[in-house]
């Protein structure tokens, strides 16, 4: 097995008595596409919130490359190469699509670039390449709030990719994306992740997407890991089929 990039150890989190993580430990290995599946409200998004510093666990720790990041802010973790795409797109809705992208690209540049114009030919081209990847190149100059919800989702993913992360956390990347666009999008996304050597963790409800793209699946249920393994192994587990996949 390759080296561990991100590791969560013995996480405990509860909201009003409901356990979102009850002593969970997971490890994400370099180069893998780890899918997390599980019923709604089981704590999958909470895991992403903890790993990116948005909420702090009651106990337990999160390690990035062996360094404790449990108490770091989302900003500090993002600077360490962890990017996130959200379940509900988090965009600069009053700004153009291309400005959302260029601001993300500028965020990784040095301090000096902060006082130079945001729009440069190089940055615009780089932004358009990423927009092209998710099928939004034609919408570059639209105000992002005018995009349909599915396209906002794609833009959110492109913004996360613009940070050139080592680890990308995707929260339901295909929700809101039309059935016709779902597999082409995932094909393009997976290609981009492989070529850029980006490790990915994605929370997903679409089992066809999980079966096709995940290298490993982790089944989350009531704050615990119910099962773990390759997609074919996990989906052949009777308990998983009954409680999560929805077929007996």
């Amino acid at each position: 097995m390759t080296r561990v990039i991100l590791e969560a150890r013995n996480l405990h989190v509860a909201f009003s008595g409901v356990k979102a993580a009850d002593g969970v430990s997971i490890a994400i290995h370099d180069g893998e596409f780890l899918a997390i599946i599980g019923p709604n409200g089981s704590g999958k998004t909470t895991l992403l919130n903890i790993c990116t510093g948005y909420i702090r666990p009651r106990s337990g720790s999160v390690l990035l490359d062996g360094h404790d990041i449990t108490r770091l802010s989302p900003r500090a973790i993002a600077r360490r190469g962890v990017a996130r795409a959200f379940q509900i797109p988090q965009l600069f809705s009053a700004q153009r699509v291309i400005d959302n992208m260029m601001l993300a690209l500028a965020a990784t540049d040095g301090l000096w670039s902060a006082v130079r114009p945001l729009e440069t030919a190089k940055r615009r081209e780089e932004a358009k390449e990423l927009l092209d990847l998710v099928g939004l190149a034609g919408d570059a100059d639209r105000i992002s709030s005018t995009l349909p919800e599915g396209h906002r989702k794609l833009l959110d993913i492109a913004v996360a990719l613009a940070l050139k992360p080592r680890l990308l956390l995707l929260d339901e990347p295909t929700s809101g994306v039309s059935a016709l666009e779902r597999f082409p999008l995932m094909d393009a996304l997976m290609n981009a992740l492989r070529q850029r050597r980006i490790t990915a963790l994605f929370v997903e409800h679409d089992m066809d997407v999980v079966a096709r793209y995940a290298s490993r699946v982790l089944v989350w249920n009531a704050g615990n890991i119910m099962a773990e393994g390759r997609p074919d192994e996990v989906f052949s587990n009777a308990e998983v089929r009954e409680r999560v996949v929805g077929v007996a």
Binding site: R79, S93, A114, G138
Partner: protein
């Protein structure tokens, strides 16, 4: 990056049409953008030449326009923060801090216009950095009210610390030397007007550059999504503090020019109605671009000058104008001059 895009046959199918159009589209966008810039530059140049010529035709306008430009700087400071959705009803504090700075420094023996301007703006920026370091933690009504509260504390200090500030009598601002040359009052006021006009163009270009930079775009982004900014690794507090200091410095520049133009600084410079006046100018002019603040200030000063000759109730006319602008011109007067594309710059 190019490799990544070439990698997936499927993605080519998805985006083929857009990809073919990409080169042509970029060319058209660049041409359109150049046209917008050229048009804006001509309009701005014409406006500056007109402003420069007006006092020659009507000398009484010189004082009015100098004050208008000074208030325009301060309103621009307010407008900078408005881009982040933050309304400051206390920016007259920085306006006054700088004007008092000029008076105190002049009393201490500094007698050069350039040096006094630079130092007084630094005073305003320093006060802005101190106040901003805790005010930027607040949003919406809390930010507005706390700015108001702090500015009124400053006002009270100016009015009560008689030994330092001269109390409600204020402090005189003597006529300084310009590069070692001492002018008569009319000549100095002439120099001050044209210097203000030149600064309006230079500082305006600097602020426009700031607003077009990643820092400026991040400032607008604070208004819509702070969470995403943090997840991009961009510190929201730094974006806001920089903006706050810049806005305080702009208000300070306006205050210093006003101090020189009027020849005296009084606590009323910092009163809350003065802060409200700056917000009024920013909204009238429009926050879409740098010229808006100056358009609003010139309009309001001219309206004021004309209205007082007709009626004592000039505030009524100003109020009516504001209602009309808010109802029918949400982008302010600047919206009338700027094309949609330019508003997004």
């Amino acid at each position: 990056m190019r490799e990544a895009d070439d990698g997936g046959g499927v993605e080519g199918g998805v985006n083929g049409a857009e990809a073919q159009d990409l080169g042509l589209g970029t060319h058209r966008e660049a041409e359109a953008s150049e046209l917008v810039y050229a048009r804006s530059a001509i309009v701005v140049a014409a406006a500056v030449v007109t402003l420069a010529a007006l006092p020659i035709a009507a000398p009484w306008l010189q004082f009015v326009l100098t004050l208008a430009i000074a208030k325009g700087f301060a309103a621009l400071g307010v407008a900078v923060l408005l881009r982040a959705g933050l309304i400051s009803i206390g920016h007259a504090m920085f306006f006054a801090a700088s004007a008092y700075g000029v008076a105190v420094l002049a009393r201490a023996g500094i007698n050069d216009l350039g040096l006094l301007l630079v130092l007084s703006v630094l005073v305003a920026a320093l006060v802005g950095a101190i106040a901003g370091s805790f005010l930027i933690r607040y949003r919406a009504i809390f930010f507005a009210m706390l700015n108001l509260a702090v500015s009124m504390v400053f006002y009270a200090l100016c009015a009560k610390l008689y030994g330092v500030t001269g109390g409600t009598d204020g402090m005189p601002v003597p006529i300084p030397a310009v590069f070692g040359v001492v002018f008569t009052e009319p000549t100095f006021k002439n120099v001050l007007f044209y210097l203000s006009l030149a600064l309006m163009v230079l500082v305006g270009l600097g602020v426009q550059r700031y607003l077009n930079s990643p820092l400026g775009h991040a400032l607008s982004a604070v208004h819509t999504n702070e969470i995403r900014l943090e997840y991009l690794g961009i510190p929201v507090w730094a974006v806001l503090l920089i903006a706050y200091v810049i806005s305080a410095a702009l208000a300070g520049l306006g205050g210093a020019i006003s101090g020189f133009a009027i020849g005296r600084v009084v606590p009323d410079f910092a009163f809350w109605t003065a802060s409200g006046h700056l917000v009024l100018i920013a909204v009238l002019g429009g926050i879409g671009g740098v010229p808006g603040a100056f358009i609003g200030a010139v309009f309001l000063e001219l309206l004021h000058s004309a209205a007082v000759t007709v009626t004592d109730a000039w505030n009524l006319m100003v109020g009516m104008t504001l209602i009309i602008v808010i109802m029918f011109m949400p982008q302010g007067f600047y919206g009338l001059f700027a094309r949609k594309e330019a508003l997004n710059l």
